[in-house]
């Protein structure tokens, strides 16, 4: 009999874990009157902290999502979430939409419903200014920094030269530090992010770009078709009204389509 409470305590602990894990359901919004988005910040220029913004965050994704929330008469709430596996979050009930510079891929589309594409992206190679002109093919025997679970990681894995080694990081923010520290020789990730960094920091240059014809989309739970079509309608009317073009110009210098 002495052992009983220990066993039962264990069961209780398990119960708590399981209830925490198995939450979620078929509600269209996780919080009434609010559009909750999962986004990994910082990932400039798409998402970064901004104390002056009502949601606490700003960037192309956030401002576009804020405009969409406005169209839908909802309040935007940003949940800063690690990027690896972020497209699984809506199904887990953590947020309604993933807006995190996420490329639409077949693998992700198997577990998340994507909105219409909202941004055309490409991959790029960033190196220290001293190594300007380096190409991916030159990196044999070197270390290429990538972020876990990104299309940049997949591209680097497929196209790296013989002997090059991928070093993957939990978060994008550590990548630039690692390049500065010399623990990696190059970074392969989305062009606009590398480009924004190179503009701010003379130490870094974008040495090569790769036209992968990637498109970003917003990710939702597979069964949340209602919200997906609302978002697509809102996106379309923002494009028609010129709001989308203004935002695109603000962050990327050109109006986009």
């Amino acid at each position: 009999m002495k052992r009983m409470p220990v066993l039962l305590l264990l069961v209780l602990a398990l119960a708590l874990v399981a209830t925490a894990c198995s939450s979620g359901g078929d509600a269209t919004l996780v919080a009434e009157g609010k559009l909750t988005i999962c986004s990994e910040s910082p990932y400039e220029p798409f998402e970064f902290e901004d104390p002056s913004a009502p949601s606490g965050y700003s960037g192309f994704d956030i401002e576009l999502m804020d405009a969409i929330a406005g169209e839908l008469e909802l309040e935007l709430v940003v949940a800063n979430t690690p990027f690896d596996g972020i497209w699984l979050q809506p199904a887990a009930g953590a947020c309604d939409v993933v807006a995190s510079a996420m490329t639409i891929t077949e693998e992700r589309a198997a577990n998340a419903l994507f909105s219409d594409p909202y941004y055309n992206a490409a991959q790029s190679l960033m190196v220290l200014a001293a190594n300007d002109g380096a190409t991916l093919a030159d990196l044999g025997g070197m270390k290429i920094g990538v972020q876990v679970g990104t299309t940049g990681e997949a591209y680097a894995d497929e196209n790296k030269p013989e002997g090059a080694e991928l070093v993957s990081f939990d978060e994008g923010a550590a990548l630039f530090l690692a390049l500065e520290a010399g623990t990696v020789d190059a970074i392969l990730q989305d062009l606009p992010v590398n480009f924004a960094r190179a503009e701010q920091d003379a130490n870094f240059v974008v040495a090569e770009t790769y036209n992968t014809e990637e498109q970003y989309g917003f990710g939702l739970a597979l069964d949340n078709e209602g919200l997906a079509s609302d978002i697509n309608d809102a996106l379309k009317s923002l494009k028609d009204a010129g709001t989308y073009g203004d935002l695109h110009e603000k962050y990327f210098g050109v109006r986009g389509e």
């Binding site: 009983m4 119960a15 693998e107 070093v167 550590a174």
Partner: protein
């Protein structure tokens, strides 16, 4: 009604009150346990957290790569931490004030900042500040673990040394041994015997903390268990790899925890 229950309660002996509460807690736990079994959607748990084909997919690489790397990081960090901790403990106990201060400051500063921050600072900060890259794949992570674990171990080792009877040192000195000889041959061997259980606990904590080294970047061959599990979750869109990684941790830690319990029992008996 309320009053009569109150009277009934007051009429109970102390022993029966204790038995009442024990019985009540058994009932509560049983209700919670049954509620848990009923509430959980076991089919869904099986599909998303323990899918047989994905479990099979993890082997043997989860052992040959991930568990191997976890163990390598743990052993390197433990040996480094033991050396740093021993040095700090001896400095802490020395007659020299500056030595004692340096040791005290090191221990306070290192223990006062989270391990993850140290790993980022040492793995990425040192190369930026000094232009030095810690060589080898395991180097930066193992160094960061050693530096931090050393601070925790210093206190364990100091307590161990202090627990050895004072008379041992006095006897050794009176036989003509120098302080350092007496420390090395008389005090430390006895102190380490006392320290085996707490050091084993440090080892287990360290084994789990190796999950943080992936913050400074991992290659395909240097992934440890947690990173392995998380990557598996991304690629399979299923929690099974992480659950399996958790079970492998248990496979490593439970034998050690049991061994510590045995050692502690033995130590208690021999007292």
């Amino acid at each position: 009604m309320v009053l009569s229950m109150f009277d009934w309660w007051r009429s109970l002996s102390k022993r029966r009150k204790v038995r009442f509460w024990r019985g009540a807690s058994y009932v509560l736990f049983a209700v919670l346990a049954v509620g848990f079994v009923v509430a959980v959607d076991w089919g869904r748990v099986g599909d998303t957290m323990f899918r047989a084909d994905l479990v099979a997919d993890q082997f043997p690489d989860i052992l040959l790569i991930a568990a191997k790397n976890t163990i390598i990081y743990t052993i390197l960090g433990f040996i480094g931490g033991l050396l740093i901790g021993l040095m700090l403990a001896l400095m802490r106990l020395s007659q020299s004030k500056p030595f004692r201060w340096v040791s005290a400051i090191y221990i306070d500063v290192v223990r006062g900042i989270p391990l993850l921050v140290w790993i980022l600072l040492i793995g990425l900060g040192i190369p930026i500040a000094l232009g030095i890259r810690v060589p080898t794949t395991y180097g930066p992570g193992a160094l960061a673990l050693s530096i931090v674990v050393g601070a925790y171990m210093a206190e364990t080792i100091r307590a161990g040394i202090e627990a050895v009877d004072r008379g041992q040192m006095e006897a050794a000195r009176s036989l003509g041994m120098s302080y350092s000889k007496a420390m090395i041959w008389i005090i430390l061997p006895q102190a380490f015997r006392l320290m085996i259980p707490p050091l084993t606990n440090e080892f287990i904590l360290l084994l789990k903390d190796t999950s943080l080294v992936s913050a400074i970047g991992v290659t395909v061959t240097s992934k440890e268990l947690t990173r392995w599990g998380r990557d598996g979750v991304i690629h399979s869109a299923n929690a099974t790899p992480l659950v399996v990684a958790g079970l492998v941790y248990l496979l490593l830690t439970i034998p050690m925890t049991r061994a510590v319990a045995q050692l502690e029992k033995k130590a208690a008996q021999s007292k």
